[in-house]
């Protein structure tokens, strides 16, 4: 398959090529159908747009800057802009989607909000918008992630959310998502599930991508005023479920001259058996209600992913990325734990910006690409590193050469 124009959006049946769909138990049929029938109408209504734009501007602090990283550019002998999603309120791109979905939930009359979270950024974003709207909030988080992202757990609790520790399976994002879906089954009538990435049954992948598409819309406008053209040569973003990448790619999908690069976490290495690089080691199947690539055994059992980064530690990937991968519209690279850690330190010391571990995977991929000096590169810096400080301090303590 090769890429042609205008084929990258979801079709009327909820598929991107062969990927996507809604593989859900019948109990959730009404909920998903309600979303499917209403999300576009609601999102396109004037009252929604006004409220969404106002909150993004005055509450989240958008537009986020497009920062010309001079020292990084010099290091890689090209021109690199960082899209500063780390400067959003609550510290990552996740809030864009949480604002959108809470406004949607309000319009659907839902009183109870649930979410899953890995790194805790989506959990914090959801807890934040629930505090803002006065809605009950329950966040499912794997026990392993609760331990490695303690500051975000404290923030969620302070915001009034109930954080439920998930002890099934690998105790990470996949299992938190399972538990959130089970909660939804048990509270189908009054609950809206705010999924944190471009995963899950249709219409979630499309809906979340649309809420995150503000990232690429802003890049276009900002680049025009910085360099006199809307399109860069490269857009680079990390991929867990794939929402920050989907948002950063969105308005460039049909501009085929823009190279789109997604970066997955290879953990301890692609062939180590401890990886989360789904598109490299996975095969097509069904995960969390969607047909996409996932890491699984020959028998169809979902296998345990591994990454130092809680937000990328997921055995699936959004169906839109499975499709962009298969059509070769985007390229997917992968980066190990160590490479990501080096990229954290590099950015911190060169630009004075401490990135999130997830975003550091995108940064580490810079050295895998042969840029021309004349290239314009936009890298989506999806979040800030406050939540990862303990991991960073421990790493620096044990790797003195990095100082």
């Amino acid at each position: 398959m090769t890429a042609t124009k205008n084929q990258f959006n979801v079709n009327e049946f909820g598929y991107y090529g062969q990927f996507g769909g809604a593989y859900i138990p019948e109990i959730l049929f009404n909920n998903v159908e309600e979303l499917k029938n209403n999300y576009l109408t609601i999102m396109n209504s004037q009252s929604f747009k006004t409220e969404f734009d106002d909150l993004l501007k005055n509450y989240v602090g958008r537009p986020t800057p497009l920062y010309l990283a001079k020292n990084l550019s010099k290091q890689f002998n090209t021109t690199i802009y960082l899209k500063r999603e780390d400067l959003n309120h609550t510290g990552a791109h996740k809030i864009n989607n949480a604002i959108g979905q809470i406004l949607l939930a309000n319009r659907l009359g839902k009183k109870r909000i649930i979410a899953e979270t890995g790194a805790g950024q989506h959990g914090v974003a959801t807890a934040t918008v629930c505090a803002l709207m006065g809605l009950e909030c329950i966040v499912y988080m794997g026990q392993a992630d609760i331990e490695r992202q303690a500051p975000n757990v404290a923030r969620m609790k302070m915001l009034g959310a109930k954080v439920v520790s998930v002890t099934s399976g690998t105790k990470t994002l996949k299992d938190a998502t399972n538990e959130a879906i089970r909660d939804w089954i048990n509270h189908a009538e009054d609950t809206h599930y705010i999924i944190g990435s471009v995963v899950g049954p249709h219409p979630y992948p499309d809906m979340v991508a649309r809420f995150q598409s503000v990232i690429s819309a802003e890049i276009k406008t900002q680049l025009l005023s910085c360099v006199g053209k809307q399109n860069p040569d490269y857009v680079i973003a990390c991929v867990g479920g794939g929402s920050n990448a989907a948002g950063a790619f969105y308005h460039f999908l049909n501009d085929l001259e823009v190279q789109l690069i997604g970066v997955e976490a290879s953990g301890k290495g692609i062939h180590s058996g401890h990886t989360a690089a789904t598109l490299t080691v996975g095969t097509p199947g069904i995960i969390h209600g969607s047909k996409t690539y996932l890491m699984q055994t020959n028998d169809g059992q979902i296998t345990e992913p591994y990454s130092i980064s809680a937000g990328l530690d997921y055995p699936g990937v959004g169906p839109v990325h499975a499709y962009l991968f298969e059509t070769k519209r985007a390229n997917y690279l992968s980066v190990t734990d160590d490479e990501a850690m080096h990229a954290v330190i590099n950015l911190t010391q060169k630009e004075g910006i401490i990135p999130a571990l997830e975003s550091a995977h995108a940064l580490a991929a810079l050295s895998q690409i042969n840029f021309k000096p004349s290239d314009t590169v936009v890298l989506n810096l999806s979040g800030r590193g406050d939540k990862d400080l303990t991991t960073y301090i421990n790493y620096l303590d044990t790797h003195t050469h990095a100082k």
Binding site: F13, E26, F29, E189, G300
Partner: protein, 258 residues
């Protein structure tokens, strides 16, 4: 073509007792032994769960049994191995219940063909969308004489129930409340009215109720409303603790029947 599920409902349309077990639980080779005992106790129907790593519609008890079965090394391939002698053990209708990813990886047609080969009569695949059943599965279901049973919940609209009834074969699985399996939820008080409404639709399929049927009181309550009921989690708990299947299963089934 005859199907054992249809034959059952021709002979009996009240108090149908269906038991759910997880293949390869508690021990890898227990599956047939348990089925044999259920046959001796004269239950009406058996559902065998294919263990899955991420069973979204299941509560903690069935999740845990799946996990143990997977740790025991159970795969779909060796479930079919184990079931080779199914029809020398029982003539009861037997269904497989599982998640769609397992079937996809096995190969859809091969799966239906294998089911037919070992004498499986029906399938329950909770995350198989009706539309995909029609466009992909239905030809194989017909070719291999496998009845695919769909679920409805107290939330399902009358219109959709009619569509599901059109497509479902054998029976319809009525989920008693909006819950995962084995939840502690009581049977909802609104259920009586809901079932009345469903009956007024004059469905072609019989109804069996499942999820939350723990023991005799729930089984009797369900049988007053519909053609029968399915017991899952509490049976899994029983075999999980049992040191003597023959004695424990007979006792369990007779408490429910009498």
């Amino acid at each position: 073509m005859q199907n054992r599920i249809d034959n059952l409902f021709k002979q009996k349309n009240k108090n149908i007792l269906s038991i759910f077990l997880t293949a390869g639980y508690p021990k890898h080779d227990d599956t047939l032994a348990i089925i044999k005992q259920l046959d001796a106790c004269k239950v009406d129907l058996i559902e065998i769960g294919i263990p899955y790593s991420d069973p979204l519609a299941d509560g903690p008890i069935i999740q845990q049994s799946s996990q143990v079965a997977l740790e025991n090394g159970v795969t779909l391939k060796n479930i079919f191995e184990q079931l080779k002698n199914l029809r020398s053990v029982t003539q009861m209708p037997v269904l497989l219940m599982g998640y769609i990813n397992t079937v996809l990886q096995f190969g859809i047609e091969t799966f239906y063909q294998k089911c037919n080969e070992v004498g499986i009569d029906g399938l329950i695949l909770p995350d198989l969308p009706l539309e995909e059943y029609n466009s992909v599965h239905k030809v194989y279901a017909q070719k291999y004489n496998i009845h695919v049973v769909f679920l409805i919940s107290p939330n399902t609209s009358a219109q959709r129930i009619k569509v599901i009834d059109e497509q479902s074969k054998g029976f319809i699985y009525l989920v008693s409340s909006n819950s995962t399996t084995g939840s502690g939820k009581e049977l909802p008080t609104t259920l009586v009215q809901k079932v009345e409404d469903i009956k007024n639709l004059h469905l072609k399929n019989p109804l069996l109720m499942g999820f939350g049927i723990k023991g005799k009181p729930e089984f009797d309550a369900a049988c007053k409303l519909v053609n029968g009921a399915i017991i899952g989690s509490s049976f899994i708990t029983l075999v999980g603790h049992s040191t003597n299947f023959e004695k424990d299963i007979s006792q369990f089934i007779s408490t429910i029947k009498n």
